[in-house]
Homo-oligomer: 233 residues x 2
């Protein structure tokens, strides 16, 4: 089974994972072992300990070099957005680790295979295993393909609270009146609606946003206004 | 000035630090720059961001490989003890970074040069700089000489709360009576006293400890009892 994953990783990312027992360790959950008394392997938790630290350093090194003009506050902020449960879970799904994990029966029943917190642990364990098997350069190579590249697609934007950031930015020099105003609401297919909302500063419109709820539309408007104001597009 | 530190590091640790401007950046505090308008360098904070992550990964990799039989809980516990303000401050002093740091006038007056929190930041910044200048292997080489080696001397023991650990251990299978009993108190020079305390489990003596206060003596007794019981000497 793990040789299939090995083949898949080689085909998709041009990375050869050598030691299949390490790959198996990274994808074996403790209860699976408890339920298989003849199984002679370990669960993923030691590798998760290792991989957690490797994700932290890899991200810090990458951001430090990529953004030579950013101060440590901004670097820290982006790193926190990147290194978190939801983004690691997305990576596990992208590499199909969720297909391969060996779970205990109870975990299987309760839907752990699709649970972000498990998939986050698996990602860290997988990175720990890749580090031991192929070294830091292979880790950076994979992360450039699947993790760092997502900075440019705006992937981590979804984790940013732009309404708070916009408020912080506008209130830097004293109290201001920030207002979100519904402009329109349009019926589309499937009984769904599209809302359009404008964000206003002291009555002047900064940006508009659309979404399937007013809350979503507000977030979009806030992000656009924030990016316009900071030129961080 | 920084070439002196360069020479010192080479002589003591056989590590050649090449780029003196990086060394200077790691040892320059923001207010120093504010007070020197003609100074064309950066403060240490970006390097501190980098070095923090490098200390985390280096420690995780070292512990993972050194203790192949430890579970992730025990690995995490020792890493937390190692990677903390007081131990990093001790390392900065050991390398004399406190002598070389360029501080703002106010910080100098307020005694920042000897403040653990500043010295912790400097250590991380220095490790960030060493990583950029000489790479991961040089970092591991230095850490083996000054940081990991301290595991064997019991250096990190001082950060462990052995009274709590002993209590946890003894109460694993139900409530027990743990008691610390003063055995003696002896006058020594300089008006100081040495206290001797015994720790007892259900009235039976487990270990004794000595110290300049009963609290210190209790800690020593607890550590000895804990290590006897766990064979972790």
């Amino acid at each position: 089974m793990f040789s299939e994953l090995q083949t898949e990783i080689e085909a998709r990312y041009d990375i050869h994972f050598d030691d299949l027992s390490l790959l198996e360790e990274a994808l074996t959950q403790a209860n699976y072992i408890n339920e298989h008394p003849n199984y002679h392997g370990r669960d993923y938790q030691r590798l998760e300990f290792l991989g957690d630290a490797i994700m932290q350093q890899s991200s810090a090194v990458y951001l430090f070099k990529r953004y030579p003009d950013w101060d440590e506050g901004r670097l820290t902020e982006l790193r926190i957005l990147m290194v978190q449960t939801r983004s690691f879970a997305a990576l596990s799904r992208e590499l199909h680790l969720d297909h391969y994990v060996q779970l205990g029966h109870g975990e299987e029943i309760s839907g752990a295979r699709n649970r972000d917190s498990l998939l986050e642990d698996l990602w860290e364990a997988f990175i720990g295993a890749l580090y031991l098997d192929q070294g830091q350069d292979a880790v950076m190579n994979l992360l450039e393909q699947v993790f760092f590249s997502k900075i440019d697609t705006g992937f981590y934007d979804r984790f940013v609270d732009y309404k708070s950031k916009l408020q912080e930015l506008l209130q830097k020099n004293g109290t201001v009146d920030i207002n979100y105003q519904k402009i329109s609401e349009e019926q589309i297919e499937n009984n769904e609606q599209i809302f359009t909302v404008a964000v206003q500063l002291n009555g002047k419109q900064l940006a508009v946003g659309e979404g399937k709820s007013t809350k979503d539309a507000e977030k979009v408007a806030a992000r656009r206004a924030y990016k316009d104001l900071t030129m961080d597009k």
